[in-house]
């Protein structure tokens, strides 16, 4: 009996411990990651802005690792992505300054909003950089045509209409029940390239043409996953857990000619072209 219990506990431990699907995505709005100092986050946010501005990017997609990379599932380099839009800001003293605004989908903080819900939040590059647990971000610069189309959607009522407030860390992009930050970006991209705000049609289109990233999760992990994080909802998956990642979004955009450039930018370093493995 005792041996059976020890053995079973070991199996259960393997099933639950380690980097699991809970870390696949993280649209947490908790700002400070304590990885970069305030000064480092300030400098890094400006480096990202300058990288985008040097390329004349009006709309770009930027990803950060909201958790230490060593805690992420295999094949997942980043957790949170957002649209960066070249958009003037008005200061409290009335001056207008030029730069980027960041358009995010954040999961609830469990305080003002349940963690299983999400909301659309616009903040700024410093807020984005301060939430990074790593020294790098990934950047997708869409083609000029796609930037224009994305801009049109983000500026229109269709943008908020595409938001599904039921949140899952590993939402299935082919299913309309749950959404996370990366699936939301994919939905906005789909609205832009197919020129439709019909969400049902977008889901059908993506189910047919988008290849999501598979999260390696054994049956026991799936079984115990809800105990780990309430945001880990897998009811929208019939088979393997597959979700939108930087990697799968990049592959989709490159395959169909939507991406002009894909970059990786390290703190204090120059941007380097990113190639999918």
């Amino acid at each position: 009996m005792l041996r059976g219990m020890i053995c079973a506990a070991f199996v259960a431990t393997l099933a639950i411990g380690g980097p699991g699907p809970a870390a696949a995505q993280d649209s947490s709005g908790a700002a400070a990651a304590d990885h970069l100092t305030a000064e480092e986050a300030r400098a890094f946010s400006k480096e990202i802005e300058q990288t985008l501005a040097a390329r004349g990017a009006v709309v770009a997609i930027v990803f950060r690792a909201g958790r230490p990379r060593e805690d992420l599932p295999e094949g997942f380099a980043y957790t949170h992505g957002a649209f960066w839009v070249y958009q003037p800001a008005r200061l409290p003293d009335g001056r207008e300054v030029k730069g980027y605004a960041v358009h995010n989908l954040y999961s609830g903080d469990g305080d003002s909003l349940p963690v299983t819900k999400s909301k659309l939040v616009q903040d700024f590059p410093f807020d984005f950089a301060a939430g990074s647990h790593e020294d790098d971000v990934a950047i997708i610069v869409p083609t000029r045509e796609v930037q224009q189309r994305l801009y049109g959607v983000i500026a229109s009522p269709a943008y908020s209409a595409l938001h599904v407030d039921e949140y899952s860390l590993v939402s299935n992009p082919a299913d309309a029940r749950y959404q996370n930050c990366n699936e939301f970006m994919l939905d906005v991209l789909a609205a832009a390239v197919w020129e439709t705000a019909d969400y049902a049609q977008i889901k059908v289109n993506l189910a047919a043409s988008f290849r999501p990233s598979r999260v390696k999760a054994g049956g026991l992990k799936r079984l115990f996953a809800p105990l780990m994080d309430a945001r880990l909802r897998t009811g929208d998956h019939d088979g393997p857990v597959e979700t939108v990642t930087f990697e799968s979004l990049t592959a989709f955009m490159q395959t169909h000619g939507y991406a002009q450039e894909v970059l990786q930018l390290e703190t204090g370093g120059a941007a380097a072209a990113f190639t999918l493995p």
């Binding site: 009996m1 639950i16 800001a89 410093f126 224009q148």
Partner: protein, 115 residues
């Protein structure tokens, strides 16, 4: 027989799940508490760091930058203005560092109540 075999597994599994779930859930709680304390903590940390940031800036609504219309089921992409005129020209970025202000906490404050 099946029950006898499953009992120790279920017990140990639940125990292990509780132990590990505590750690995982703590992460969520930490996020929540961080989020609720963001305003004061972030301000204090930034002040202590000497980093000059501007709080309270507001992004100019995109609709004011480019005209966008939406028809039934279709997104019409009629962006106007000079934003797209100079294709791929470098854009200007100001030196100001902006940060978003969290929404004011109005819990426990009812209309007409003294603030």
């Amino acid at each position: 027989m099946t029950n006898r075999l499953m009992t120790p597994f279920c017990f140990a599994s639940v125990m292990a799940a509780i132990l590990f779930a505590e750690g995982a859930l703590a992460d969520s709680f930490q996020n929540a508490s961080t989020a609720s304390k963001d305003s004061a903590e972030a301000s204090a940390r930034l002040a202590a760091s000497g980093v000059q940031v501007t709080m309270g800036a507001v992004a100019v609504p995109l609709a004011a930058v480019g005209a966008v219309t939406q028809g039934a089921g279709e997104v019409a992409l009629t962006i106007s203005g000079g934003l797209w005129d100079a294709a791929n020209e470098p854009l200007e970025v100001s030196g100001e560092v902006l940060t978003a202000l969290p929404p004011p906490d109005l819990t426990g404050t009812e209309d007409g109540e003294e603030r």
